[in-house]
């Protein structure tokens, strides 16, 4: 069992190192990248199946018993995050074959990409705060490299802002870890749950909670801490933005969920009030930013921020329904968001720009692409019967159950504004004719003009992801049930703790 839980990061690291060695042979490194992502998907599926019928499973590395050694643990939340990471990883890897130029490939794109996936998956399986820090760093350094790979001027500019603010988050996290260790003497998440429940030092625990909220909040792009994201996400190649948008901020949210369900005791209301205010402000300010912009990718970048607000809202409301809503929203959002960015890349390839005012006529150039965009965008905006509708329905329902009417109101306003900015993209990029007056004019390239391999590499991932979105929307029941089971596990972490700490699990 132990080796299976270690595979989600060992496998991509191994493939990544091979890809670095082979980076000067594009064909070989591309094949390695494909093999790595396909293998990761198999690993994620088998772990998912296991977590589905056994509940939380844990493994102790090197057979050191739990609070002392390195623990890997997978419950339902980690399992579905792993699965989503693998799905997004594979889709974006296929898209990257068409989108990332050969110069970047020889600089080691595929290797860094695999390392990024290793960091993301490592963060999901670890059961120990310090290891979480280490995996965050693996993820961070790979993302730094991917962001500035190629060294264009814009990339350096955006990269500086990304690096500067993310390093602050890292240091906050490290300080919080040091203080938690000083307070409790352990960093194992399950052991921390027991230790922190016994410690009666509200000042210390409150300070630690705030430090962790700031640290993970920067990673997750919460309200006052998100400015690095719209400043930097639109500078690298689209494939990189897509995987960042799909996975990186969600790892921050995952860490927040873990922290405030498993680590801190359940009656710890202080952090949730803080998170609630941050979540609402994130939702609104993100979507307002999206409404104000006129560049395809920057609109989508602001939407990432806005949707992080929804995810954290579920955690802040902290009821079974709300947490289930967060899990569902996470699944829906990772798929839909990645897909929208992939589509923006294809739109740029066909129409020549990301500036909405300079492009147009994409519907005529490719009805298929337009349909895929339409489904993904309206799912994001929460249109029934698409997946975003069910996710928002669960969250709004949860807030109504707690008589938090203004929370529900803000959620609905955000949904309406999301719809507004999505229809802005729709009408400008897809519906209106191409503005021939601008200097880089010309009708958009019809998609059939692309080489066959490139067409496949660009469209197959988008269609695959939109099929998942549709399946989630039309048949939501299995995922809703799964989310509820995951939320129950989070609200009552005794199964998680037993899996980690009981001697039988060794």
């Amino acid at each position: 069992m132990g080796w299976l839980l270690a595979l989600p990061f060992l496998w991509p690291i191994a493939i990544g190192l091979l890809a670095f060695v082979a980076r000067r042979q594009p064909q070989l490194s591309r094949r390695l990248s494909m093999a790595g992502c396909a293998g990761l998907l198999l690993i994620a599926v088998s772990i998912f199946m296991q977590a589905l019928d056994q509940g939380p499973v844990a493994a102790q590395m090197g057979n050191w018993p739990a609070p002392f050694g390195i623990t890997l643990v997978v419950d339902r939340l980690s399992a579905i995050m792993l699965l989503l990471a693998a799905l997004v990883g594979l889709s974006v890897a296929v898209f990257a074959l068409a989108d990332v130029d050969q110069h970047r490939e020889t600089l080691g794109f595929h290797g860094f990409y695999q390392l990024l996936l290793a960091g993301v998956c490592g963060s999901f399986v670890t059961g120990d705060l310090f290891n979480l820090y280490v995996w965050f760093e693996v993820m961070l350094i790979a993302s730094f490299a991917l962001l500035v790979l190629g060294g264009e001027r814009e990339q350096l500019d955006g990269g500086v802002k990304y690096v500067a603010l993310n390093l602050v988050s890292t240091l906050f996290m490290l300080m919080a870890i040091g203080m938690i260790y000083g307070l409790t003497g352990t960093l194992n998440m399950a052991a921390l749950h027991l230790a922190l429940a016994e410690i009666d030092q509200p000042a210390a625990t409150h300070m630690l909670a705030v430090l962790l909220i700031v640290a993970f909040g920067i990673k997750a792009a919460l309200f006052p801490l998100y400015f690095w994201l719209p400043a930097s996400y639109h500078v690298p190649p689209v494939a990189v933005t897509a995987v960042f948008a799909g996975l990186l901020t969600k790892v921050g949210v995952y860490a927040l969920i873990r922290t405030f369900t498993v680590i801190f005791p359940a009656d710890f209301g202080f952090a949730r009030e803080l998170l609630l205010v941050a979540a609402l402000a994130t939702m609104l300010s993100g979507v307002l930013g999206a409404a104000a912009h006129y560049e395809f990718r920057r609109i989508l970048a602001f939407h990432i921020v806005s949707q992080i607000g929804f995810l954290v809202l579920g955690l802040a409301l902290f009821s079974p329904l709300a947490l289930a809503g967060t899990v569902f929203y996470m699944a829906h959002n990772i798929v839909a968001k990645t897909n929208l960015l992939l589509i923006s890349g294809t739109a740029k390839r066909m129409a020549g720009s990301f500036e909405l005012l300079k492009i147009g006529g994409l519907y005529r150039a490719s009805p298929l692409l337009a349909t895929v965009f339409f489904i993904a965008a309206f799912s994001l905006a929460g249109f029934p019967p698409l997946s975003g509708f069910w996710a928002k329905l669960m969250l709004v329902n949860a807030s109504l159950h707690q008589a938090a009417y203004w929370v529900a109101a803000i959620a609905l306003v955000t949904g309406a504004l999301t719809l507004f900015s999505m229809s802005k993209i729709w009408s400008e990029a897809f519906w209106k004719p191409h503005p021939r007056s601008t200097e880089d004019a010309g009708t958009p390239l019809p998609i059939s003009a692309l080489p066959r391999a490139e067409r496949f590499q660009r469209m197959a991932p988008a269609i695959f992801l939109v099929a998942i979105t549709l399946a989630m929307g039309l048949f939501p029941q299995p995922l809703v049930e799964f989310s509820q089971a995951a939320a129950d596990e989070l609200l009552d972490p005794s199964g998680y703790i037993r899996a980690v700490l009981s001697p039988a699990a060794r």
């Binding site: 760093e137 350094i141 390093l167 006129y294 500036e355």
Partner: protein, 130 residues
């Protein structure tokens, strides 16, 4: 000893944060160094300061005979130092790259990725009615 170290950590953190707030990237780098060392010292103090021997087990014994120092914070600091050093090296290279390519290390002058709205583009075009 603890209180002295706590004051040192506090001063380092304050100085580090102050330097990181500067728009000059070189100042930011120095702040980063100070703050990451402060974080490492926090872990170090968290492991309790004692005058005890290294955690070595004498030959023939099953467990250490004397009280031993806690090895875990040291292992964590070592990891954190290595990671911090890697990140610092990367950031330094990035700042150098910025200076070469953009000709500035003042973050306020870096507006390539986020151009200020001009009269012809940006949000002011929202009312162009079509």
């Amino acid at each position: 000893m603890e209180s002295a170290l706590v004051i040192v950590i506090g001063v380092m953190t304050a100085t580090g944060v102050y330097l990181m707030l500067a728009s000059n990237l070189l100042c930011y780098l120095f702040g980063l160094i100070l703050l990451s060392n402060a974080a490492n010292l926090v872990i170090f103090v968290a492991g309790r300061l004692t005058r005890v021997v290294p955690p070595l087990i004498p030959k023939g014994a099953e467990a250490p005979v004397e009280p031993v120092a806690n090895a875990l914070p040291q292992a964590m600091i070592l990891t954190a130092i290595v990671i911090g050093f890697g990140l610092l090296a990367f950031t330094l290279a990035l700042v150098v790259g910025c200076y070469r390519e953009l000709g500035t290390i003042d973050a306020d002058n870096m507006r390539l990725a986020e151009p200020l709205p001009e009269p012809s583009t940006g949000s002011s075009t929202g009312h162009r009615g079509d």
